[in-house]
Amino acid sequence: MKVLLLSPQWLVAISQPWHWAVAGAALTLVVFLMNWLGKRFGISGSYEVACSLLGAGRKISFFRRDFKEDIWVIAFVLGTIGGGYIAVHFLSSDQPVVISQQTIDYLAGLGISYPGSDSKGLGMLPDTIFNLSSVKGILLSVLGGLLVGFGARYGRGCTSGHAISGLANLQLPSLITVIGFFIGGLLMTHVIFPWIMSF
């Protein structure tokens, strides 16, 4: 069994980029496991837990929570971070993400080379734009985080909670929220981001 698990062919196979249908099926397994364990699939609630742990509940009743009820969120988040570590260190395909040529050409026009703008060359994040080493890089990263955190808590859910969990439960609020995701995302991608990059 151990030999089978560690066999190079098996590792090479899952180290290739996964087909979207495989990913969709795998996410369905995640949804099942979360439900079976008694929780719904979602992760942005972790921001509220962090606020609560940092003592925000003393001032704002919204952040008053029972820590014992939140341990699972912390365990899930730590697992997710660990998953990213395992994927990049043991299951990396060493090839950058194959994005469409149209997107590559468009980004080149904005001054973003592909995959060169990702210092790791993986095609995961243009860290030449979002980084800790320039004022602009820090400002853009903080702005992105603020908007995601605020929106996720105002809407009580993110891509996992609304776009997957909510839609799979046929929830109208989730559908409207996902339409909002696209209004914001399209506005940013087509109007605001090109404007930001012009500076």
Binding site: W18, T28, A75, T80, S141, G144, G145, G151, C158, H190
Partner: protein
């Protein structure tokens, strides 16, 4: 620390690997998605929703019980169009900019993209700011 918490950690590990290997954590994939230049992200979300909806429907029909012995339930949100569309749009603006939603932020931090050391605390700050102005927003 209960076995249940270890189970959530393991599910998180799996979720993180799936998100990385399916490239759903890629800023470039998100940019490509919002430019409608690839089917990839739509394929992932579409199959995840279709499979999950079918699975949940079947589980509910079969009166499936969770480990706590409860039937599957979903606490329905009060419908408020303004709230959902506004919250979604704010989130979308951030998603379109940083190219990562909450799950991928954690995954990419684990993958060694250190900039998420400020992105994630900023998102927590965003959640805190929401808590501050919550009473003034439509719900």
């Amino acid at each position: 620390m209960k076995i249940r918490h270890i189970a959530f950690f393991v599910v998180g590990l799996f979720f993180g690997i799936v998100m990385f290997k399916s490239e759903a954590v890629s800023w470039f994939r998100i940019h490509e998605m919002f430019r409608f230049e690839s089917f990839h992200m739509y394929g992932i979300i579409g199959t995840a929703v279709a499979f999950s909806a079918t699975m949940l429907w079947l589980l509910k029909r079969a009166k499936f019980k969770t480990l706590d012995g409860k039937f599957l339930s979903y606490d329905v949100m009060t419908f408020n169009f303004t709230r959902h569309i506004l919250a979604g749009t704010i989130f979308g603006l951030g998603w379109g900019l940083i190219g990562a939603c909450p799950g991928p932020m954690y995954v990419l931090l684990g993958s060694g993209y250190s900039v998420f050391l400020i992105v994630i605390p900023s998102a927590v700050l965003g959640a805190f700011l929401y808590g501050l102005v919550r009473d003034k927003l439509p719900h």
